[in-house]
Subunit: 160 residues, 2 copies
C-alpha cells in the first residue's frame, strides 16, 4: 500500500469513498448529501491536508489531517479516516492512523485529538485505543445516527 498527500485539485481521488462513507450517516456529522465542493473545502483546503491510500492502483482509503484549533490550540492535530467498504477488515484504518501520526509529528504537532467518535462505532473505538488514544470525554446525544437516532460521541486524545 502506498499513502501520499494529494493536492486540493486531486480531491476527486478521495471523493468516491468520502461520498459513500458520509451517505451512510453512521460515522460522520457531515450532511449525507454534502457536495463535492463542500467536502473539498473541509478536507483539502489549507490548513487541512488530505492523504490517499492506494493498493494495486485502487484508492482504498483516505484521511484528513489538520490543526484541531487555530492559534493557541494549533499544536494539536485532528484527523479523520475513511476506508472503502470493499477494503475493510484488512488493517487499512490502522495503517492510515499510524501514517497520520507520523506526518503530524513531522509537522510539529504535539498531540492528536478526535472530537467526534460516534459511540456506536465500536470497530473505530477499539482501533484508536489500540493506537494509543484514550477517551477523554463523552458528549450525550450529539449525533443523529441514521438508524440509531440520537447517540453519544466520544472525544479521544493522545500525545504524539
Amino acid at each position: 500500500m502506498e499513502i501520499r498527500e494529494i493536492r486540493s485539485d486531486e480531491f476527486s481521488l478521495a471523493w468516491p469513498i468520502f461520498r459513500s462513507v458520509v451517505a451512510m450517516g453512521d460515522s460522520y456529522a457531515y450532511r449525507p448529501d454534502i457536495s463535492f465542493e463542500e467536502a473539498r473545502a473541509l478536507w483539502a483546503t489549507a490548513p487541512a491536508r488530505t492523504f490517499i491510500a492506494f493498493a494495486e492502483g485502487q484508492v482504498v482509503g483516505c484521511y484528513l489531517l489538520r490543526p484541531n484549533q487555530p492559534g493557541l490550540g494549533d499544536h494539536v492535530a485532528n484527523a479523520g479516516y475513511m476506508v472503502a467498504r470493499e477494503a475493510r477488515g484488512q488493517g487499512i484504518g490502522g495503517l492510515l492512523c499510524e501514517h497520520s501520526m507520523e506526518v503530524a509529528r513531522q509537522a510539529g504537532f504535539l498531540a492528536m485529538q478526535f472530537n467526534f467518535v460516534v459511540s456506536s462505532n465500536e470497530v473505530a473505538i477499539r482501533l484508536w485505543k489500540k493506537h494509543g488514544f484514550e477517551i477523554v470525554g463523552r458528549v450525550p446525544k450529539v449525533f443523529r445516527h441514521s438508524s440509531l437516532g440520537l447517540i453519544d460521541v466520544f472525544v479521544m486524545y493522545r500525545l504524539l
Copy 2:
C-alpha cells in the same frame, strides 16, 4: 441592558471587545493578532450569529451562537461569550448565557456544547455550571495559555 443580534456588516460593534479578549491569550484559541475579517468570518457569517449587549449606549459584551457541527450534529448549539473588561463582575456573562440559550431553543437546538473552556478560567467554569452546564470531558494540554503554558480544556454541555 439590551441584547440584540447584529448583521455581519455591523461586526465592528463587537470588534473592540473581541480584539481585547483574544489579545489576552488566556481564554480563546484564536490567534491573539487575529484580523477583523477573520474574526467576522468566524463569528458573524452564517450559520454563525453574533449578538451584542448594550448598557447605557455602550457595548458591554457579545456572544457567538452557531451549530456546533454541520449536518447530523446541527441540533447542538455552540456559543462563546465575551464581556468588556470594564464591565466585568456585573453578571453580564450570565445574562448573555441565558439569552443565548433562549435564542438557541427558539432556533430548535436541543442542547448546547462548549468545546474549549480553558481550565484556568475558573470564573467562567463556575458560571457555566451555575447555568446548568456540566463538564463532560477534559482534554490535556491543548491550550497554550499566554502565561501558564500548556493547560487543559474542558468540554461542557447541557440539554436545552
